[in-house]
Amino acid sequence: MRPDDAKRVCECEYLGVPLDGLKAGVHPNVVGIGVGHKVARGRATDDLALRFYVRQKMHALLVPPAQRIPDEVEGIRTDIVQSGEFSIWRPIPPIYQRKVRPAMGGLSIGHYSVTAGTLGCVVSDRGDRLILSNNHVLANENRGAEGDPILQPGRFDGGKPEKDTLARLETYVALDPEEANLVDCALARPYDPADVTEDVLGIGRLRGSREPELDERVRKSGRTTRLTGGTVVDAGATLRVGYATGTYLFRDQMIVVGERGAFSAGGDSGSAIVGADGKAVGLLFAGSPFFTVANKFVHVEKAFGVRVA
């Protein structure tokens, strides 16, 4: 009998492909059947064999006799190959860009009309747990109104207002086009406090906050570049930053240079910058091709009268 005929018989018996005169059956472990060279002692031989692709290859003693795949079918040898389940290749987005409950620092978040930014961390306002990120992430550069839905993941990552709304906009520090700004930050109140946790993805719980120091090593967890490390190269910068609505002047900011490649990219706005001791030192909000700019975390806490939770 030729291998193709034996294969057709097996397809009927193990995968349920109809064939005249045979009872179709489905084997729980077989996901595919093919024809290839028989493998003996780890090497392919000249003989053809039936290849049974299985979810998991098991020891002969563990297989119930009724499910055993014979060594030979109609005179053709068989090979058992562990392939796992087959699926179409669809890219799975990293966890940073997916819906996660309870939500935590480092994940994609955004106002319903903003593309996406990063959830910085959970802060405590006299016992209430609030979500901290940038004004231009949660309040759409002063254009958001109190109570606007905040999506996790953000709109760019597929977040929909009807099913991914995590919180509502609570308050923000307005960006001032005339005077020098100190912070770009906003707070959102989760509809269900159990939907958020104090953890930051890949970093863990924050242990308070402090001023950044020159030359210190810092880390951040963000939607786009995920977990990265860098060095503080400037601890008191005044600079002009371009926004969609215009250019704003900022004073007393910190500047970070990445260790391996860029420390941040578009979409990382709102990430908390954390020192080696686990204390928050900055709130990432802007950058140039070579640098990342962040508000000092102590200014952010003072602006709202909140503490790292």
Partner: protein, 89 residues
């Protein structure tokens, strides 16, 4: 306390020879003028060779911008850093 004469006047130094006026004070004094220089996008404080310095961030390293910036301000070295322009992320 040791004192050293400079072109712009006296700067008090502590016994390790470090200036008593912090780089931040000097930066604050010159910040407004530096920020008005075309091509300058930021002014900050960093460290170079273990000493505090004033960092001036410029959009690009064109000779016109570089020649308009001082090498040092009141004895604090100035480091010119080509950063490109800053954008909200």
């Amino acid at each position: 306390m040791a004192r050293r004469r400079t072109r712009r006047g006296f700067i008090a130094k502590d016994r390790h020879g470090r200036p008593m006026v912090s780089a931040k004070d000097i930066k604050d004094r010159h910040e407004a003028r530096l920020m008005k220089t075309p091509g300058v996008v930021g002014v900050g404080i960093g460290r170079k060779d273990g000493k505090e310095c004033i960092r001036v961030y410029v959009e690009n390293g064109s000779p016109k911008v570089l020649s308009a910036l001082p090498r040092s301000l009141e004895d604090v070295p100035v480091e010119v850093v080509v950063s490109g322009s800053f954008r909200a992320r």
